[in-house]
């Protein structure tokens, strides 16, 4: 189906002087799309040409529209010789293909040249006329929305979360083609830029097709990367989570629950045919639930559960799966666990708490056989052990058998998927039940030339292999899904390390069931539209209240509250996949929790946290002999497990040192260079209230030879203890220690109360209680047996403390800070260090690398000191080893200031749920609809608890501007859901509900209006565009997503010294990249980029030749923001010079 692309070239400004004689330029423009080219007239002798061209029209099919970028070239006309190119603009027109994104691209674009950088700007307008029948969208992937954000975009709700989509395309790298020897660097760079742009388009189209196939309409958490494999080619690959998103609009009254779950299960559920949702689950669930309580002796757990779950597909698979336990790093590596018992030692903690009688119901499914533990390979073991331990029987949430059944259904739904992976890192409330721990896999591959670009099978197979491993690791942890999933590569010459990691998780089966109900009731209601439209809203609300009351009356309160549920272990405690120290959840006292929890996801907003979080980094360098081919790959493979282990040990130590017990947003990057491997793990440490207080770190000298040595040891011990207590003060970690008798008490106290209690305790300093916990817990023992160990421990203490007023994290949310002000500062920093010592040792190297990272952090703190009190969010370092003795560290993060004084208030308001509910319409919908559509909550505990806890959550949600959507999976019966959705939408259109917070007529129009209405005294025609790596901007509300920004630039210079050396060159380039991103966003009508990341920054230099080259790939979501509070007055778009005195005025605002 063709579309018509229309382009108009209006004017240029600030053009460079191309004719030295006249100091002027005779500029004209070539507009190229696919194979068609148009030209404007030459506008003679001007640096600010006014072409005002006609609308150039391209008639193209939509495949081209998706793949091809619009290419605009500005040239200087020369009568006698060849025309000189001034520069180019590539415009991705994808946002115009989606009806919900931008409608027109119009604005000033920087004219970019790969040699000279930005050379003036050009004003371009682009429109697309699509022949807009609905069928077209079914046939092609035009219209599929893409989001970089790893959470459900704010103004959408997820109707269905379909799951993992991936694709990769390969091609020859133009830089390595023979023709490159004869063409200019500029031509070569442009060929590369164009190719990557084309490949990105193609990739996005292909992913889009997959999404459509799955029945989705959007990709969330879209991450596209490219691998420069040198001689062997160029790979562009992408992963994402396919979803069906519904725009939350003010016109649709009854917003149907988003958690439409897989329709497949509904048919299997015996009661799903029941037309009355009220009666639907109440009958069977209650008795089952009671029955649950009778399974008190813990020893029978596994038996009970396994016998009742014999039909579970997962269980046998896990047991037999040969892949799960296999070493994840390199298939050829031997299993190392037996060789290094001491290394594993720190993690081998006793399973003491298992004997306590409790109400813990049987863990329904994941009875991982004991054998598993033995076969778990070294690295695997470490990963699992360290990352630990996960979550607890979801069975605790509800009746055992019913639950089992539900879980079974969920699982089978997930089983259907090849990879039950989700690139999301934060989820709709209730989506995530348990997080089992980090799963990761690495594999070392030798690159070979990609012979046939149309069949990228090798690369596909490689990733397939890795994903399979991840999947089986997740199973070993008793989890059926992986969330917070990501993939990366590191390439050096012909060796490539492929890495994947994620968090094993159990997703809410009950939630899915609710979804079914929703679908069901929707279906039913849609047949009786009158009933629906008249009664639905009121009914919803009634149900809400009613269900709340009745459930609390009934006191069926054994549900895991969302504030701790995700911490509960998902695996069977007697058949644990690895040794772990389990205790009862300190929050609900019912479920088992591990002593530490490592995850790759963001801290769930509902999680109960004590104190504040902080960035924790583990850094490591390992020397490696230079080698070629197979030998090199083997050497790397052999090193990897050690590196993983050491990184985990470091993380664990640093975590304990801060008195914390959980890591979120864990990213472990291992980069390969010719003579070394560099590992960097970043995560945000927190004290999860649900998890036990971490024991201190205890130093044990292995060979206590003399008194001096003993003295030394005790000195270190003292230092460590001091640091721990200092950190506890710093991060305000003062957990309330609940007395012993509460633990045993089977009487559940109302959730609200306990939450209140908890939040009070957060601010109270109960030092004596704290000490108690110290004595009770097992200390984490570090054995000093050699100099290395001493060094390691000392290095622990060298992490400089954060300057006062600063906090840092690498996740979206900073635990303990909610009251952000609107002042933000996004930045990119890059450093390259040269190691000068010829005789490198591991230890020296480590220390240097550690210093390097510490210094970089120190620099950031110093630079941003004017923003105090502030938090550096999303502070993720990426390391690379570009050359022999070079280490490159890059980071893109945002500094956000917060209001210290309001901290306490916010905390208090968290406990007053009703207030917040009225605050935010979007979030109100959720509990209401849930209750009406699944009235079974009265008897179905989990949703009750869920509901009740949803209220405090709502507040957190509003204060953090995180959307509360919910979603589930559907695979088989998508079409069926689609049908219902369509009907439901029809109904929705009928009813009217005004939503004050969304009552802005046309967001886009408004945005434009504001742009236009800038006071005329303003000189600037440049829109202020905010950028952030997070998915929100504090104090502002996202009213429209305009499409994805995915840009790739190359910059090269042959006059490095003249451009200020390497730093000057890169500084300019990064500033230019920012400028181009901002210009594109502004042209789309936006005023902010969220989820911005710099995915690639490849820098190469040759100072002797005075040359340097750099490639940067960035992406993000373009959005329109409005200020949340009107009293703050000036809309963001009035960028103009408010403080600039009127006399500065002159040029009218275009």
């Amino acid at each position: 189906m063709p579309g018509k692309l229309k382009v108009k070239i209006c004017a240029g400004r600030h053009l460079p002087v191309m004719d030295r004689a006249s100091d002027l330029t005779d500029a004209f423009v070539e507009v190229k799309f696919s194979n068609t080219t148009f030209k404007t007239e030459v506008y003679p002798k001007s640096l600010n040409p006014q072409w005002n061209s006609e609308w150039f029209k391209f008639e193209v099919d939509d495949e081209d529209l998706q793949d091809e970028p619009l290419q605009i070239t500005v040239l200087d006309h020369d009568t006698y010789s060849a025309n000189d190119a001034i520069g180019k603009v590539y415009i991705d027109i994808d946002p115009l293909l989606c009806s919900e994104a931008a409608t027109v691209i119009c604005g000033w674009f920087p004219i970019y040249d790969t040699i000279h950088g930005i050379r003036g700007e050009i004003n371009v307008s682009v429109k697309v006329d699509l022949f807009n029948d609905l069928n077209r969208f079914r046939q092609s992937s035009c219209g599929v929305k893409f989001f970089c954000s790893t959470s459900i975009p704010k103004c959408y709700k997820a109707v269905v979360v379909h799951g993992f989509v991936e694709e990769l395309v390969v091609n020859e790298d133009p830089e390595y083609q023979w023709i490159d020897r004869i063409r200019t660097p500029r031509a070569s760079n442009e060929a590369r830029q164009r190719l990557i742009s084309l490949m990105s388009g193609e990739l996005q189209r292909k992913i889009g097709l997959k999404v459509l196939e799955m029945g989705g309409n959007a990709v969330v958490g879209y991450l596209q990367c490219f691998d420069l494999e040198g001689e062997s080619g160029l790979v562009v690959r992408a992963i994402g989570t396919a979803c069906t998103l519904d725009k939350i609009s003010n016109t649709s009254a009854a917003q149907l629950p988003a958690c439409n779950s897989p329709s497949k299960e509904i048919k299997e559920a015996p009661f799903s045919e029941d037309p009355n949702p009220n009666t639907y689950s109440s009958g069977p669930s209650t008795p089952l639930k009671n029955q649950t309580y009778s399974f008190s002796p813990s020893k029978s757990y596994s038996r009970q559960s396994s016998s009742s779950d014999t039909d579970l597909s997962l269980t046998p698979k896990t047991a037999k799966s040969p892949k799960g336990p296999r070493i994840s790093l390199c298939p050829s590596s031997p299993t190392l666990s037996s060789d290094f018992p001491t290394l594993i030692n720190p993690f081998q903690l006793h399973l003491g708490s298992g004997t306590t009688h409790s109400l813990t119901p049987p863990h329904s499914g994941h009875a991982s056989p004991l054998v598993l533990r033995k076969s778990v390979s070294f690295s695997e073991d470490l990963l699992l052990a360290a990352s630990g331990m996960g979550s607890g029987g979801s069975a605790g949430k509800d009746g055992g058998h019913l639950k089992t059944l539900l879980r079974q259904q969920t699982q089978s739904a997930l089983e259907q998927r090849e990879f039950p992976f989700f690139t999301l890192t934060s989820f709709p409330l209730g989506f995530l039940i348990h997080a089992g721990g980090v799963v990761s896999a690495r594999s070392v591959k030798l690159l070979d030339r990609i012979h046939n670009p149309d069949e990228p099978e090798t690369r596909d197979a490689w990733w397939e292999e890795i994903r399979q491993e991840i999947k089986s690791h997740a199973k070993a942890l008793g989890c059926h899904a992986v969330v917070g999933y990501s993939e990366s590569t590191s390439i050096c010459e012909e060796v490539c390390i492929l890495s994947a990691s994620g968090t094993a998780a159990v997703l809410n089966p009950k939630f899915l069931q609710d979804g079914c109900l929703d679908c069901y009731s929707e279906n039913r209601l849609s047949r009786q539209p009158t009933f629906f439209s008249t009664g639905s809203e009121k009914g919803e609300f009634d149900f809400f209240l009613q269900s709340k009351d009745s459930s609390s009356m009934l006191g069926l309160e054994d549900t895991s509250p969302p504030s701790c549920g995700f911490c509960h272990i998902p695996y069977d405690e007697l058949n644990m996949p690895f040794p772990a120290h389990l205790t009862y959840c300190c929050n609900c006292r019912r479920q088992k929790v591990p002593d530490v929890l490592f995850t790759t996801i963001d801290l769930p907003v509902e999680a109960a946290v004590t104190g504040r979080g902080c960035l924790i980094q583990a850094r490591l360098c390992r020397l490696k002999k230079k080698a070629q081919g197979e030998a090199n790959a083997t050497a790397i493979s052999n090193l990897l497990p050690f590196m993983e282990y050491e990184l985990h040990t470091q993380l664990m130590n640093k975590l304990k040192l801060r008195g914390m017990n959980a890591l979120f947003g864990l990213r472990i990057q291992i980069s390969v260079g010719e003579n070394m491997l560099v590992g960097l793990a970043s995560a945000t440490g927190v004290y999860l209230t649900a998890l036990p207080a971490p024991g201190g770190i205890q130093i044990a000298g292995k060979t206590p030879s003399d008194i001096a040595y003993e003295q030394h040891i005790s000195n270190i011990q003292k230092k460590i203890n001091d640091t721990v207590s200092r950190n506890k003060e710093l991060y305000e970690i003062h957990p309330l220690e609940i007395s012993e008798e509460v633990i045993g008490s089977p009487i559940p106290e109302p959730r609200q109360r306990s939450r209140l209690l908890r939040s009070h305790s957060e601010s109270s300093d109960e030092v004596s209680e704290l000490d108690l916990s110290h004595g009770k817990k097992d200390a984490f023992v570090l054995e000093i047996d050699d100099a290395d160990a001493v060094e390691d421990i000392l290095s622990l203490l060298t992490d400089a403390p954060l300057p006062t007023g600063f906090y840092s994290c690498n996740t979206e949310n900073m635990p303990g800070i909610h009251n952000w002000t609107s002042s933000i500062q996004m930045f990119t920093t890059v450093r390259v260090f040269r190691l000068n010592n010829v005789n490198l040792t591991n230890q020296g190297l480590n220390k240097s690398f550690n210093d390097l990272c510490e210094n970089l952090l120190k620099s950031l703190y110093f630079k941003l000191r004017s923003m105090i009190p502030c938090c550096l969010c999303h502070l993720n370092f990426t390391v690379a080893v570009p050359e022999d003795e070079l280490i490159q560290v890059a980071a893109t993060a945002v500094a956000m200031t917060f209001d210290k004084d309001q901290a306490q208030e916010i905390l208090k308001s968290n406990t007053a749920p009703m207030k917040a509910i009225s605050e935010n319409e979007e979030q109100l919908q959720f509990p209401m609809e849930l209750s009406s559509d699944s009235p079974s909550v009265q008897t179905f505990p989990p949703s009750k608890g869920f509901l009740e806890n949803a209220s405090p959550q709502t507040i957190q949600g509003t204060s953090r501007a995180t959307s509360v959507d919910y979603s589930s999976f559907a695979d088989r019966c998508n079409s069926w859901i689609e049908l219902i959705k369509l009907k439901a939408q029809t109904i929705r259109r009928g009813s009217i509900k005004t939503t004050p917070s969304l009552d802005k007529a046309s967001p886009l129009a408004e945005g434009h209006l504001r742009l236009r209405s800038t006071p005329s005294c303003t000189d600037s025609t440049v829109t202020v565009v905010k950028m952030t790596p997070l998915s929100f901007i504090p104090g502002a509300k996202i009213i429209k997503y305009l499409g994805i920004i995915n840009m790739f630039f190359i910059r090269e210079t042959t006059s490095l010294r003249e451009e200020g050396g390497v730093s000057g060159f890169l500084h300019t380039f990064i500033a230019e990249v920012f400028a181009m991103v901002r210009a594109h966003v502004a042209a789309l009508g936006g005023n902010a980029v969220i989820s911005y990341i710099m995915k690639e920054c490849v820098f190469m230099e040759n100072s002797n030749k005075n040359q340097a080259q750099c490639l940067i790939n960035v992406s993000g979501d373009a959005v329109i923001l409005i200020r949340e509070s009107e009293q703050e007055g000036v809309p963001i778009q009035t960028h103009g010079s408010t403080s600039q005195t009127p006399q500065s005025g002159g040029a009218p605002v275009s």
Binding site: E791, M826, F833, K863, V1062, S1063, L1066, S1144
Partner: protein, 347 residues
């Protein structure tokens, strides 16, 4: 362990903010022409290391970043309207205003050296002397000189009020725009300000004079619609001034004028006797200066002449400033009352 110490050197170190971070203190150091290492040591002396618990490396890296940023912005600062419309740096408007204002700010010591001089290459070459004399770094001198020259070039041929032209083109504050107008005006007429006798005068004094001259003696002062208005003195007016000579050449006129002035000032000034005794000399001095102004050379000497012929005699007689003001007012008004001068009033 020490043998394991790996020497690391920073090859590349950049920090780029979406909103360009600019430290005013470092900006000032950069404007003042300090090198990075000088700037670092100056910053260290301010106790910044202790205050923020940081190290010299960090300070150096920060200073370098800032210097790079400033160097990159400098070409934009040359055309402030470009800075406002550029896309490379996202700078909030009030910061832009600060950058521009500070960039165009100048040192009193420097401007006194250059005021009234031709803004030519020759003058620029002599800047090292200026630098040595004033203690202002050569780099800073050059920036200030280039600013003068740039502003001069842009507004020199422009129609309309000088101050407004400066302000529109360089987005400066009122005060700074007026100062630049003075600098341009002085440079255009090449008023001599460097003579020893003029040293006691501040730039402020000259700027005030310039402002008065622009308001009263230029073409623009008379007719806004005429081209080339504010920069040049009104030739016609200067020509007309020659007619004033009658006040000193015609004996009757002189006496009449003197008596009118004396009548008016009697009892009103402390130095009445001195004034009365010196009236002829003072009037002659004033009128001669006025009558010579058609001569470019004499225009240049305008201020030195004023000092020598008017101010110094007054000073010698210990006139008060109020006395001078009263005298000059009376002097002007009385002249207008003279028969031969009726037409002056009408014009």
């Amino acid at each position: 362990m020490d043998s394991n110490e790996v020497k690391m050197s920073v090859e590349l170190d950049v920090f780029v903010g979406n909103t360009t971070i600019m430290d005013e203190e470092v900006y000032q150091l950069w404007l003042d022409g300090y090198t990075v290492s000088d700037a670092v040591s100056i910053r260290m002396k301010s106790g910044i290391l202790e205050q923020f618990g940081t190290t010299e490396d960090v300070l150096e890296s920060d200073t370098m970043d800032h210097y790079r940023t400033f160097q990159m912005t400098e070409r934009l600062l040359h055309h402030p309207s470009k800075l406002v419309n550029q896309v490379l740096f996202q700078i909030p408007p009030h910061r832009q205003a600060m950058l521009i204002e500070r960039y165009y700010a100048f040192d009193e010591a420097f401007v006194r050296e250059v005021l009234g001089k031709k803004l030519s290459k020759g003058t620029k070459k002599d800047l090292d002397d200026v630098s040595a004399k004033t203690g202002i770094t050569l780099k800073s001198c050059r920036r200030q000189f280039d600013n003068f020259k740039r502003v001069f070039k842009v507004v020199e041929e422009m129609k309309g009020p000088l101050v407004e032209n400066v302000q529109c083109n360089f987005l400066l504050s009122d005060k700074l725009a007026r100062d630049y107008a003075a600098i341009v005006f002085f440079a255009n007429s090449r008023f001599e300000t460097g003579k020893k006798k003029l040293q006691y005068l501040t730039f402020e004094d000259f700027a005030f004079c310039a402002c008065q001259l622009i308001q009263n003696w230029t073409v623009g002062a008379v007719d806004n619609m005429v081209e080339d208005m504010d920069v040049d003195l009104d030739k016609e007016f200067l020509q007309d001034l020659k007619d004033l000579k009658i006040l000193i050449t015609d004996k009757d006129m002189l006496d009449q004028h003197k008596s009118l002035v004396c009548t008016g000032l009697r009892g009103k000034i402390q130095v009445f006797n001195e004034m009365e005794g010196n009236f002829k000399n003072l009037s002659r001095g004033l009128i001669n200066i006025a009558a010579k102004l058609t001569n470019t050379k004499d225009v240049r000497d305008f201020f030195i002449d004023l000092v020598e012929k008017v101010i110094e005699p007054c000073k010698a007689d210990r006139w008060l400033i109020s006395d001078v003001r009263a005298f000059l007012t009376q002097y002007t008004n009385s002249a207008r009352a003279l028969d031969g001068f009726k037409y002056v009033q009408s014009s």
